[in-house]
Amino acid sequence: MFVVISCMLTGIAVGYLIRRWKIRFIHGFILTFIWLLLFLLGLEVGANDIVIKQFGKLGFDAFILATGGTLGSVVAAWVLWLTVRNKSISK
């Protein structure tokens, strides 16, 4: 786990050190890596018979967690909204 996080921290440091040069193509890299990883994840899920048999159940759990998380954050944002709405939002 720490390897993954330190890869990102190293990236931030490298990106900051070479900030004179704008690395625009990095977003293309990110997208390509994401596509590749999602493809590999699909492959792994598809090849796993246990997961395929339970797909409906996993989808149900996913829906419950998404609804809970989204509603919870919306209500929390509403609480903050009530304290700032009468004041200027940005200077």
Binding site: I5, V14, I30, F33, I34, F39, I64, K87
Partner: protein
């Protein structure tokens, strides 16, 4: 939206090839996804460190809105904790790890697969896609009943890219900077919080 569909189609293609076993075994045997993940995280780091606006843009914000990402995170966790009773055979920390994706389904599902296995990884993928889609579909409704910060919170880590246009349309242009700020902060926390909740047995 188009970006999400492309990403989904990569997942779907992999899924089909996997079900019918149309791939060389070496693809899964050598843990290739771990190395690709490291390369991805390194690239994400570079894109953050390389952008001078990353560190500068926050100064023009209303001080109280600094807390929006915190409200997003806490609200998500409270909501997840409340519904976790309906999710059988999963610990609270597993549920919170899924919630810690905050809509960033690609990264969170990859990390959770790596730490906890494909089952929870698949839940994370589906759950965070559903969160993003809910934000895209219900943003105007959220603004109407819960104020202009609501769709920004619901969008979680996606509010500086995929859900950004919808948020600006429903909350107004004044909130564009808030949306980018919140997306940046929450996005940044995803790998840390997912890793944290996956570290529990």
């Amino acid at each position: 939206m188009k970006g999400s569909l492309i990403i989904l189609s990569f997942f779907a293609t992999g899924l089909l090839l996997g079900v019918f076993r149309w791939f060389p075994n070496a693809l899964l045997d050598y843990n290739i996804s771990f190395y690709v993940l490291c390369a991805l995280m390194f690239s994400v780091g570079i894109s953050i460190g390389n952008d001078p606006n990353s560190f500068r843009q926050f100064r023009s914000l209303n001080p109280r809105l600094i807390f929006l990402p915190l409200m997003t995170i806490l609200g998500t966790y409270l909501g997840i904790a409340a519904v976790s009773f309906f999710v059988k055979n999963r610990s609270l920390t597993d549920c919170l790890a899924v919630g810690s994706g905050f809509g960033y389904y690609s990264l969170s599902s990859i990390l959770i697969t790596q730490y906890k296995g494909v089952e929870l990884g698949t839940i994370a993928l589906l759950s965070n896609i559903i969160r993003e889609v809910m934000t895209l579909l219900f943003a105007p409704w959220m603004v109407k009943y819960f104020g202009k910060l609501a769709p920004i919170s619901a969008g979680g880590a996606t509010t500086m890219d995929t859900t950004f246009p919808v948020i600006v349309r429903s909350s107004g242009k004044d909130y564009a900077i808030v949306s980018i700020y919140q997306g940046f902060i929450v996005d940044f926390t995803v790998p840390f919080l997912v890793t944290f909740f996956c570290s529990f047995k």
